[in-house]
């Protein structure tokens, strides 16, 4: 049997790294655990190198149920980067909280593997398997700080909601399978052209359920209520990982399934998606204003940003896809940065997540203060930072596709968001008496992660052209 295994290389490398970390963790002493960080990072770098090497190829494995196109590779690199930054920013966190290090890194890597599978899957069942590999890993990561009661509560909520949503998603897949005779996306698309009259209602029901299941995963608004609690209770690096990578993976699947293969049905789901986008942006922003904890504020702001990203899905087409991919990149940089600064404030058992803990940070730790101001301004969408460029292209894609109302609501929303983002900056520079923040010497890896995020935020804002080209090429490779 001839099988082309090249498309599996990056993901296989990630699994291999995860298994080695898991095994090695059993046989080394506690003071040697730093080794695990390096193994994980080297494994991720190798996988990234492989993906780079494969760039531009268009191959499939297992009867094209896994596709290695530039779209998959773009997201592979994004997930690998996200995993690397998560690991960098959690090195000190896991030691302070007595989280088992080996398992933590191994689970991050395994979830990353699931995400890569989601972006590359060209078959609904494979997509489902990737989604579950990712989700199960993240459920555990959420509850890994076992001494903390909130963590297990958050894990429980996340698990119940996630498994519930999985049920809907899977039922949708089953109905689509029944109506189209296959779970392979290509064959579903060709079956769509010649749907029998009795099959179409089953198909619509299936697509609807799939839609609901994915909406749960990206935390769009009627299905968002778990987000603040879960992000709040989870260890902060895991919250960042969820806010960025899990969301990006769900959007990757959404783009491949809905924007490409199910695009004949576009007229049917545009309206509900539009409603979802408007609700998600508005509710996320309104609720974020009233928060007193920065971590919860970031959770609500991640809901609002999911709303902005949904605009790109409504717009669709080349400009929508380009905007989606580019915004995911910018969003990753600024969100990791903001959560990173939050991690830097933690002292022992005390999380220091309230607004008041940020008081005076700009003078006590100038670097953290500068970085946080940058991330907040970028999230709010001030030029010349990544958030501004990303939003500009998002709204432009909406206008190009004829949804001017969406662009206007989006712009009003980002104006609204300025209120709560600026509050952090005001706190840092105009008040006194907050938390100390870790000095560089105590958390070099974390500072490295924040520095990378700063560079990314500035670079994507000032010189967006290369990344925009990359996003466009990646999205076009779907077709």
């Amino acid at each position: 049997m001839e099988t082309n295994l090249a498309p599996l290389l990056p993901s296989a490398e990630v699994v291999l790294t995860a298994l080695s970390v898991l095994l090695l963790d059993l046989f080394i002493r506690k003071d040697e655990k730093g080794l695990l960080v390096w193994i994980s990072l080297i494994g991720l770098a190798l996988a990234g190198g492989m993906a780079l090497f494969l760039w531009g190829s268009h191959e499939g494995a297992f009867q094209d149920s896994i596709l290695l196109d530039d779209f998959a590779l773009f997201f592979t690199e994004l997930f690998l980067g996200a995993a690397a930054i998560t690991i960098l920013s959690s090195v000190h966190y896991v030691r302070e909280t007595n989280i088992h290090e080996g398992e933590f890194y191994a689970l991050v890597l395994l979830s990353t593997f699931g995400m890569i599978l989601m972006a590359a899957a060209n078959d609904l069942i494979l997509f489902f398997l990737g989604l579950e590999t990712m989700s199960i890993g993240v459920y555990i990561l959420t509850g890994m700080w076992r001494e903390r009661s909130q963590a297990s509560e958050a894990a429980m909520k996340y698990f119940l909601i996630g498994a519930f949503a999985t049920g809907f998603l899977l039922y949708g897949i089953a109905l689509i399978y029944g109506a189209a005779g296959s779970t392979h996306l290509g064959r579903i698309a060709s079956a769509l052209g010649q749907t029998k009259s009795h099959g179409s209602i089953i198909l619509s029901a299936g697509v609807f359920l799939l839609f609901v299941g994915l909406a749960f995963k990206v935390a769009a608004v009627p299905f968002h209520f778990w987000v603040p609690d879960v992000y709040d209770g989870a260890p902060t690096p895991v919250s960042a990982f969820m806010a960025v990578a899990v969301k990006a993976a769900a959007f990757a699947g959404w783009a491949r399934i809905f924007l490409y293969q199910l695009s004949p049905l576009q007229s049917e789901w545009t309206l509900p998606l539009k409603a979802l986008a408007i609700l998600t942006m508005t509710v996320g922003n309104l609720l974020a204003i009233s928060q007193s904890s920065v971590k919860r504020m970031l959770a609500y702001s991640s809901i609002a940003h999911a709303g902005y990203l949904l605009i790109a899905l409504v717009a669709g087409g080349e400009s929508g896809g380009q905007a989606l991919l580019f915004y995911l990149l910018s969003y990753a940089a600024m969100t990791f940065g903001a959560f990173g600064v939050l991690i830097a404030l933690k002292e022992g058992e005390n999380d220091h997540e309230a607004y008041s803990d940020f008081a005076g940070l700009g003078f006590k730790r100038p670097f953290l203060g500068m970085a946080m101001s940058l991330f907040m301004l970028s999230l709010a969408g001030f030029p010349p930072l990544a958030g501004f460029t990303g939003k500009f292209y998002l709204f432009r894609s909406a206008v190009v596709a004829g949804h001017i109302d969406l662009a206007i609501i989006g712009a009003l929303n980002s104006l609204l968001s300025v209120v709560y983002y600026l509050r952090v900056i005001v706190m840092m520079y105009m008040e006194e008496g907050g938390a100390e923040g870790k000095p560089f010497a105590r958390a070099p890896y974390l500072y490295l992660a924040i520095a990378i995020a700063v560079l990314g935020t500035v670079y994507l804002g000032v010189l967006p052209a290369p990344a925009l080209d990359l996003s466009r090429i990646s999205f076009i490779s779907l077709h």
Binding site: M1, L19, L22, L23, L26, F27
Partner: protein, 118 residues
């Protein structure tokens, strides 16, 4: 018009009515002379000890979890075993990879002491 499942329905009806009838007849005809010994829960003739709903040690959950996982991995071996010859070397290598991953999990559980009862 007879449906293919109609006899099954009749069967259900008869089975139900027999059960009901037996219960009712026993209730009406049988003599009732309760005494304390008779009212005790039946524990194979021994005097009953404690409540029936005791809490099990959490270790049972751990064993149940491990069983669930390793039991289901076995499911994948059956189709492979049936088609072993037709899948040839490719199938063998595939199964080897799969089992390696399972064994890593097993080694992990073992080293972590999940298999020790005490």
């Amino acid at each position: 018009m007879t449906h293919p499942f109609f006899p099954v329905l009749v069967l259900f009806f008869f089975a139900g009515s027999v059960v009901l009838a037996l219960l009712l007849i026993a209730q009406m005809v049988g003599p009732k002379r309760p005494n304390p010994v008779k009212d005790e829960p039946f524990e194979s003739g021994n005097p009953p000890k404690g409540d029936a709903r005791i809490r099990f040690p959490v270790k049972f959950y751990l064993v149940a979890m491990l069983f669930l996982i390793f039991d289901l991995e076995g499911v994948f071996l059956y189709p492979w075993a049936v088609l072993f010859r037709r899948l040839g070397i490719f199938g063998l290598v595939e199964m080897g990879i799969f089992l390696t991953v399972v064994v890593v999990g097993f080694v992990y559980a073992w080293k972590k002491g999940a298999l020790d009862w005490e």
